[in-house]
């Protein structure tokens, strides 16, 4: 399945490689670099690249490319999903996944990769199991290990591996038993020029941080479960019970995980909490443009809206912005051409507004 993995940094260096079968020369990445050169942005590189003898399947996460090399037929999504799981595991272990972090913890990374795949086929991907096999590094443990001579690697098989709930390790003990649930909802909306909603969808997640001793069996019920018509669950959720009674019943993994995610599609009506009134003209009177944006609350069910941040990706021709806000601060990054306006709370009596001029470079200047 997965033959080798190359991790490539933004400047095009292969800084880590791992082979699960016979060694494949890193020159195979040249095909990838070819595509990288052609693509205008890293996102545009196709996830699957077919070369004469190999297939390169890559994901782009935290400005690094994880390129898996396959030689035979394999479901591409299988590999993509696995690579994302690898990155998720790294993030779980090192709290973030950057090039320097990976370089710093190369031994743990290597051990993890070795444990996650055997002969290219996933072996253990549950973070609870992995954490029992290979302890995540932290300063305290490093010191303790040097003193006691113990290692970060477990010599026994994690109990979860054999049980029917491989996601939970046994013998968990906490003095304070706590469980936290975060509900995150993202509304994706397309709003046309005139301000009317073309389509809006909700993507929601329930993320948990569970610190409970023993084998807790939790159930979570919803006031109106009928809203969830399209859901996906962590494997710990008993699907039958959801089907019959719309109650989430599960034995949670220890630590952080995503319990469920749901999708409320474009067929149902989605209320968008804010509206944006804009007037934007990029070319007016020579090289300048004008920008005037007002934010306002909409369908908030009486709640205040907080932590509002507005991001506007500007066209490449914009050089700089000279804006005045009546609330919050704004920044403009001339490299990524991203205008970020941190609004904060929306006060109904005084609607936040940003206005000013946009400096453009002349298009003609580009041609001559």
């Amino acid at each position: 399945m997965i033959h080798s993995l190359f991790i490539i940094n933004p400047s095009g260096d292969v800084f880590m490689e791992k082979h699960w079968k016979s060694v494949i020369s890193r020159s195979v990445c040249d095909y990838f670099f070819d595509h990288q050169r052609k693509a205008s942005s890293p996102e545009d590189i196709p996830p699957v690249i077919a070369t004469p003898h190999h297939y390169l399947i890559s994901v782009y996460r935290s400005s690094m490319f994880f390129v898996a090399v396959c030689t035979t037929e394999v479901a591409p999504l299988f590999v993509v999903e696995f690579l994302h799981r690898v990155v998720d595991t790294f993030e779980d272990y090192f709290s973030e996944c950057t090039e320097s972090i990976i370089k710093e913890h190369y031994v743990v990374v290597y051990e993890l990769l070795d444990e996650m795949l055997d002969n290219g086929f996933p072996l253990a991907t549950e973070s609870n199991i992995l954490k029992e096999l290979i302890k995540p590094p932290n300063i305290l443990r490093t010191i303790a290990n040097t003193v006691t001579g113990k290692s970060n690697v477990s010599s026994t098989l994690p109990s979860g591996q054999l049980s029917n709930i491989p996601w939970r390790r046994t013998g968990v003990k906490y003095t304070n038993n706590e469980a936290y649930f975060d509900m995150i909802e993202e509304v994706d909306a397309i709003i046309d020029k005139s301000g009317s909603t073309v389509c809006a969808e909700i993507q929601g997640y329930i993320d948990c941080c569970i610190k409970l001793s023993g084998m807790p069996d939790l159930s979570l019920s919803f006031v109106n479960p009928r809203l969830f018509d399209d859901v996906s669950f962590h494997p710990c959720v008993r699907f039958k019970r959801w089907e019959s009674e719309r109650v989430l019943s599960f034995i949670p993994p220890d630590g952080n995980f995503r319990l469920m995610s749901y999708h409320i599609g474009s067929q149902s009506i989605v209320a968008i909490p804010v509206y944006v009134r804009h007037s934007l003209c990029l070319r007016e009177s020579g090289s300048g443009g004008r920008l005037d944006i007002t934010l306002g609350p909409k369908q908030t069910l009486g709640r205040t809206i907080e932590n509002v941040v507005l991001e506007i990706p500007m066209p490449k021709s914009v050089l700089n912005c000279g804006l005045v806000t009546n609330q919050g601060k704004y920044t403009f990054d001339p490299v990524s051409k991203l205008l970020v306006w941190e609004v904060g709370r929306i006060d109904v009596t005084k609607l936040p507004n940003i206005r000013g001029t946009v400096t453009n470079c002349h298009f003609s200047a580009l041609y001559f």
């Binding site: 545009d44 994901v59 996906s232 039958k240 009674e245 034995i251």
Partner: protein, 1053 residues
Amino acid sequence: MYAPGVNSSTTLSSSSSYNNDRPPSAEAVEVATDPASGGFFNSDYKKHDDLKQMLDSNKDNLKLEAMKRIIGMVAKGREASDLFPAVVKNVVSKNIEVKKLVYVYLVRYAEEQQDLALLSISTFQRALKDPNQLIRASALRVLSSIRVTMIVPIVMLAIKDAAADMSPYVRKTAAHAIPKLYSLDQDQKEELIQVLEKLLYDKTTLVVGSAVMAFEEVCPERIDLIHKNFRKLCSLLVDVDEWGQVVIINMLTRYARSQFTDPNLQDVDEDEESKRPFYEDENEVDEEQQEKRAPTLDPDHRLLLRSAKPLLQSRNAAVVLSVAQLYHHTAPRSEVHQVAKAMIRLLRSHREVQDIVLTSIAATATRRKVMFEPFLKSFFVRSSDATHIKLLKLEILTSLATESSVGIILRELQTYVAAHDPPFVAAAIQAIGRCASNIKEVTDTCLNGLVSLLSNKDQAVVAESVVVIKKLLQTQPSAHREIIIQMAKLVDSVTVPQARASILWLLGEYSERVPKIAPDVLRKMAKTFTSEEDIVKLQVMTLAVKLCLTNPKQTKLLCQYVLQLAKYDQNYDLRDRARFLRHIIFPADAESGGPTRLSKQAKKIFLAPKPAPVPESHFKDREQFQLGSLSHYINTKANGYQELPPFPLEAPDPKARDVETEPQVMEQAPLFTAKKVSSKKDSKFYSDTESPEDESEEDENSSDEDDDDDEEEEDSSSDKDEEEDDNEDEESSGLEEKLPKKVVKSNAKPKSDEEEEEDESDEDDSSSESVSDSDSEDESSEPSSVPKKQTRNAKPAKESTPVVKPKSNLDLLLDLDDVSPAFTPIMTPSLGGFLTPMSTPSSQVKTQLFPDIQPASAVISPNTTSELLNKINSSGLEIKYRFTRSPHLYSPSMASAELTFHNHGPDELTDIRVGEKPTSGGVSIHDFAPIPSLSPGSSLMGTIGVDFADSTQPVNFEIKIGSDRTYPVALKVPVGEVIRAVTMSEELFLKQQGGLRGMNENTAKLSLTKPCSDLKSLTNKILTVANLGVIPNSDSSTLRFVLNTCVNLPVEY
């Protein structure tokens, strides 16, 4: 550090001395791992020297440090093979981390250093016999990963051993090792298949995924190996790990295609379907037809589809897509649409996932338009999408366009044209063209829109529009003179060669519509001919020839001129074309004198009516590949791709999938011995995993433990509910064998079954009285009551055995022990923990802390139903209830009752729900899900959870129908239903019984129809009355049951 040869001698001395004197310190590590430490030649060699020293030392931490540095080199792809001898020695290291890193190194370099690698083999062989399963498994893993052909027989032997290992983890590793060995030596195939066959029979979820993976890699053509395992795979599917699920589903798709007949065989051709949806009504007819022809699926085929369906809810996109492709390739057409929603959900995932899913959708949408139509808006492009995602979405949008939806799609496309992403804009214009030619109603609108784009400022937009218009005009050869004229004008301004070529072609093709303009354009083009692109030059020639044929007077000279120019062009295609055209048009040049046969036909050749291009999705031809496969994505056959066979016309014999029961019984045989262990083990997990095959496996597990080392005992806390169920069944049957006729129940009054039921209800009544008695005596909170005719306090030692009172009517005595939580400290220390955690709603916590007593699911669930609401009282709604003896979800202290709603009335009943509920006395009710409507004659099921607070008083509440009608109802509970069966060992039972004091003894009469000589039927009778757990028994004259009230009282009998 610098290479000494290059640099000055001072650097040399300093660097070498530095190297030699340096102790293996943290600093050294830094230098070694720093990629910027440029020295590759001498210094590197030196560095390896001190690594060797470190490896040779006898301190583990030095070795570890050295290994870490070596792994760092391996990870960076630097050569470290010269350290092989030094590293391989450490394979015997006791330090597990050093060992692990040595393994990693060994696997990487063994292939290059075959001879030295052999030194390590004996270590692995020893480790293969290690009592620790992790060590066994990792030894096998490494051994099989060493790609040295010399050790093939050793690995083969190891795999065979491991495949029969007791630990499923080791068996899983064996499955992984099979493809490794196969890739090393293909001659071993036959032998490996034998091992694989064994592993495929394995019933552990851990193993089957890997076994199927090995099957796919080694012998995907041996589909016959799957027959016997098919049903097992289907039922285990939900419990297999996600990666295994993908592999299994993909394999089963192929299996289904070869073993089942086409479910859509009688249906209209699929292609027709995709054309149909233009006409709404026909489509409906189509669906109706489908329903009429309700596809008769093979039950196994149905099983496969049904067991895969829940996986659409998986968090793993690969699993979801594999289920989608299973449905796409094998499901009846009417069911395929079920997967659409889940696929749409994946579109919110990572970019790479989106890309692959969209590719699959694009391919599916060309055939199954209807499936994705409701989700049209999900394919609207967002400005934040990557370009390739945008293009895929456009592709799908155009495929999905129908006359009803084309309006909004065109509106969207119009916006896209104004985007900043050139390839995307071009694709959007092409999409407009495709919509226009596919849907006749909008062709004119689209054409007008495209024409207006011709005046766009952006060159690329104009060029693309020209190309698209050209195609459109071809499909509509009716007079579009205006447009052609407008396009002709553009020749002066448009620079994009593709667009220029299109304009020229159009002018040539329809020159008779613009007789004045065409020759003029040709004149201009002849002027600039030499500076044009090749593609334009070719079209100039074509235009010249066509004009020459239709209007020779004006253009013959021009034509000759152009051909002359082309004759000396650098491009040989052009020269060839020029020569070819000249010989047809100007045959005189060929010195044959007079027109040849060809030149007479020239007009027919060049001005033949040309078929309009049909803009088709380029995803159409991907149908040949399995959806979601790599080959499908890249649209060429990838290495090792397994073709999806066409459905057979005749289904092969389905009996091949029948599994003989014989071997299963054999496997379950050791179950009885395993029981003691299993009853000791803690915690049940998922009661809803319904894979009966698990049991025997689990039992194997537990029997393993007896002879296995102790750590494994801890490890396999994996026993589950079913197992216990099974154990109980086994137990009862086991008991039956053990004590055949010792316990003979004499019966004074033989009664019929009906009478017996009446009897029970009598008992119920009386029990409620007795409850109040006991209430007064004991604390009122836990009057757990059991059917009884006699209530008296008794000593626990007085075990109620039928033998004691053979002649009495009271065949059975129930010792009911009421132990309130307040008493717990008085109990034996081991029991102290038993009741304290009871207040937590989780039964698992309880079992965790007191592992010897576990709730068991009911052995028997009675079928007797009672009426909750009479149809006469309630205008036709009849509600019956039955206790299911399973704990209710909402709270374990609730008994769950299954309600059956049946509408006998003539009218539809709407909005049936629970009205007012009791709030006092600790009684609580968890409502059934409100029923929105119940049509006449139909019936529905619902589940209600009731916490009776350990009383047998009927619970009164209201059922509401609609907005105005309310009916008070009373839910009566037989005492046997408020208690719950638990299992415990006999030893514990006795111990606990001894520890109890001040207990109630409740006696119930159980009348039997005939003198009961059969212990099993007696057990069953008892279990029908009350929800009890059977205790494994060593004393043959006593039957012991154990139960637990819903509020947790251990009760014995």
